[in-house]
């Protein structure tokens, strides 16, 4: 009985997603469509269609990186809602290096582009990180406000100094072919950036789980007083986590430019930074699980287009569904499996050192 409850508890994110789909089918019914057919079209398009799957992987890349950009500062107890702005500034820095650096061998140039993206995003995130660590100003508000600034900064550059001459819409010239990330799946759009994102995901998992840095970040997040007593600098951890998070988001922006669009566009991100928040919460702040939740969420976006084409249901239903998923997942976070007091007393009698009321 106990193992069954544990299994149910362990899969609580899955129940949350299923509950969201259930409520979502009410929304679909309200439009007069058949929810089962809608979901079938959605999943078939997202995961079982060659080009659909390729598109899912392309969308997974920025969502996963944005998710990591939320997870890293969250380990220190900071909420980075600014991944969207960091993506934009990273893309801007990366495009500038790709377009204006004098020609050098493609490999160092490409690496420089990626590093520039990370620097851009990292510096953009340093501002809220510094304000929070040294001035105690709420990072949620600052990162949110800075998103609007970042988007407009990119908009200014691509409709002014970096604009392609004679372009009908604000975008930059195309970056040289040598700097475009190679494609992985023949004629589909999946690019090498997906591998970068997955590799980063694994590295982060190992760092957070097995290194002193990962441990001290957790300590600062869970119990700042104890962390300070143990000699850790809280300010440094807060700023560092924010900068690293921002640079991962900046990398997402760089990869969007180098692997997907090949230009810097006005308003190029459809809210990947905010998707990152959903990715982070669905994964329970675990970088490895983040790849699963990013893949799933990316599939929802891709599948929504198939759904619209096949049964004519508007794609905005997926926006509502995504919101429902966040709510149910957030509610799932609150669900702690509490051992009944009697069982605790019995366990305490049997083994007095292991007194715990809560399963992990």
């Amino acid at each position: 009985m106990n193992t069954l409850l544990r299994a149910v508890y362990g899969l609580r994110m899955l129940w949350a997603v299923l509950a969201a789909f259930l409520v979502g089918s009410g929304l679909i019914l309200a439009t007069g469509h058949n929810p089962l057919r809608a979901y079938a079209a959605l999943f078939e398009g997202a995961f079982f269609d060659y080009y659909g799957l390729a598109d899912t992987l392309v969308k997974m890349c920025p969502m996963l990186l944005a998710g990591l950009a939320v997870i890293i500062p969250m380990r220190c107890g900071l909420f980075n809602v600014g991944a969207e702005g960091q993506i934009y500034i990273g893309a801007l820095a990366s495009a500038a290096v790709a377009l204006y650096l004098p020609e050098i061998h493609w490999l160092p140039h490409l690496l420089l582009c990626l590093v520039a993206g990370m620097l851009g995003g990292g510096l953009w995130a340093l501002v809220p990180g510094y304000l929070r660590a040294c001035r105690g100003i709420n990072e949620v508000i600052v990162t949110l406000l800075m998103n609007y600034v970042g988007i407009n900064v990119v908009s200014y550059f691509v409709s002014g100094p970096m604009m392609q001459p004679g372009a009908p819409y604000p975008y930059s010239p195309e970056i040289p072919a040598g700097l475009q990330l190679p494609l992985l799946l023949g004629d589909a759009d999946t690019h090498a950036g997906v591998l970068i994102a997955l590799a980063l995901c694994l590295v982060l998992f190992l760092v957070l789980r097995y290194t002193t840095l990962g441990f001290s970040m957790n300590a600062v997040g869970k119990n700042p007083q104890a962390a300070r007593y143990a000699g850790m600098s809280i300010k440094r951890h807060l700023m560092l986590s924010m900068v690293v998070g921002g640079s991962v988001a900046g990398l997402a922006g760089a990869i969007e430019v180098l692997g997907v669009k090949y230009r810097l566009y006005h308003l190029f991100s459809p809210g990947y930074g905010y998707d990152g928040i959903v990715v982070a919460f669905m994964s329970g702040l675990n970088p490895l699980l983040a790849s699963v939740s990013a893949f799933f969420l990316a599939g929802l976006s891709t599948g929504a287009q198939f759904m619209q084409r096949e049964i004519g249901l508007d794609v905005t239903v997926i926006d509502a569904l995504r919101g429902l998923i966040v709510i149910f997942v957030a509610a799932g976070l609150a669900w702690k499996y509490v051992v009944p007091p009697k069982a605790v007393r019995q366990a305490a009698r049997a083994n007095p050192t292991a007194l715990t009321g809560e399963l992990r």
């Binding site: 508000i141 600034v149 429902l324 709510i327």
Partner: protein
């Protein structure tokens, strides 16, 4: 010398500040009771959607106001359930509520309004001149030839201040935000106070959305709140969780917004993005300059759990 163009900026600034003031008043209510309300943004959007829906169905701005308040209250119930009862991190819950409202209103807008992402023009409140006051020189036209919602706001600001600082109700509310255990031992329910405060807070913020739709643009568009809830959050911090201070901060942001619109049209050779970011940059700079050492209500952001668990 003051001339018509200055008055024009004042007029625009006031109108741009009104949704912020409603949202900031709502936010103060909630945060004084100890719950961080980042869902002000979603409440504005929910209120705006409901206002458009009600006004179109019943062809009356009053119906719009009622439905707008109702839908903002639903956002409040959702947030209150998540934060007060389920003890979910208040930031997470607020962001979740915002995302849900944004998605749901965009989706429902396409079903409810035939025009796609924007609604048809809705019947709004017309301007009423207050006899006597509206004929005052210079300011009369601006402040006393407005609509019902703005007059309601004139009453709400001093009322909020009085309720918060001069009544037992306000004392209980502030105590819930500062030291909930004391409120509990005095025999009042912390959960009940917080639950009702969150709902009330979202309804007041929702009035900001109603004002947008029924008095300003007369239609609903997708994501029309556009970050106003977050600017209101910055304003209430600047105003130190005091209604009067928050109103001053909101007016400052409204005026800077009006000024940027004016400068945008006056200087077509300067890229418009410089002006668009002004209110956001002004909010951040104001936070940095004025909000250095001030403290929010002590228990804001923390879940209260009864008994020594």
């Amino acid at each position: 010398m003051i001339d018509a163009s200055h008055l024009d900026i004042l007029d625009t600034g006031l109108r741009l500040a009104v949704p912020l003031i409603f949202a900031a008043l709502g936010g103060i209510w909630c945060e004084r009771a100890g719950v961080f309300n980042i869902a002000l943004e979603g409440s504005i959007l929910g209120g705006a959607f409901g206002a458009a829906l009600g006004a179109i169905i019943w062809q009356s701005p009053w119906a719009g106001l009622l439905v707008g308040l109702g839908s903002a209250a639903l956002v409040g119930v959702l947030l209150a359930l998540m934060t007060v009862h389920l003890a979910i991190n208040q930031m997470v819950a607020g962001i979740a509520a915002n995302m849900f409202v944004l998605g749901l209103t965009s989706f429902l807008a396409r079903i409810a309004f035939a025009g796609g992402s924007a609604s048809a023009t809705v019947p709004g409140f017309s301007k009423l001149a207050i006899p006597g006051l509206s004929s005052l020189p210079l300011v009369g036209e601006i402040f006393f030839k407005q609509d019902v919602l703005l007059y309601a706001l004139y009453l709400m600001v001093p009322l909020a201040w009085w309720l918060l600082f001069k009544t037992t109700w306000g004392l209980n509310l502030r105590a819930t935000g500062e030291y909930p255990r004391a409120v509990d031992s005095a025999g009042l329910s912390v959960y009940r106070i917080r639950f009702l405060s969150v709902i009330g807070s979202c309804m007041v913020a929702g009035l900001g959305g109603c004002y947008l739709v029924l008095s300003q643009v007369f239609l609903f568009t997708e994501h029309m709140s556009a970050g106003k809830g977050f600017i209101a959050l910055a304003a209430l911090i600047l105003g130190r969780w005091n209604p009067i201070g928050a109103v001053a901060a909101c007016l400052l942001f409204g005026l800077s917004d009006a000024l940027q619109l004016r400068m945008q049209f006056g200087n077509p050779d300067v890229p418009y993005q410089f002006f668009v970011v002004l209110p956001y940059v002004a909010s951040i700079v104001a936070l940095v300059v004025f909000a250095g050492k001030i403290k929010p209500p002590a228990a804001t952001g923390q879940h209260y759990q009864r008994g020594g668990k």
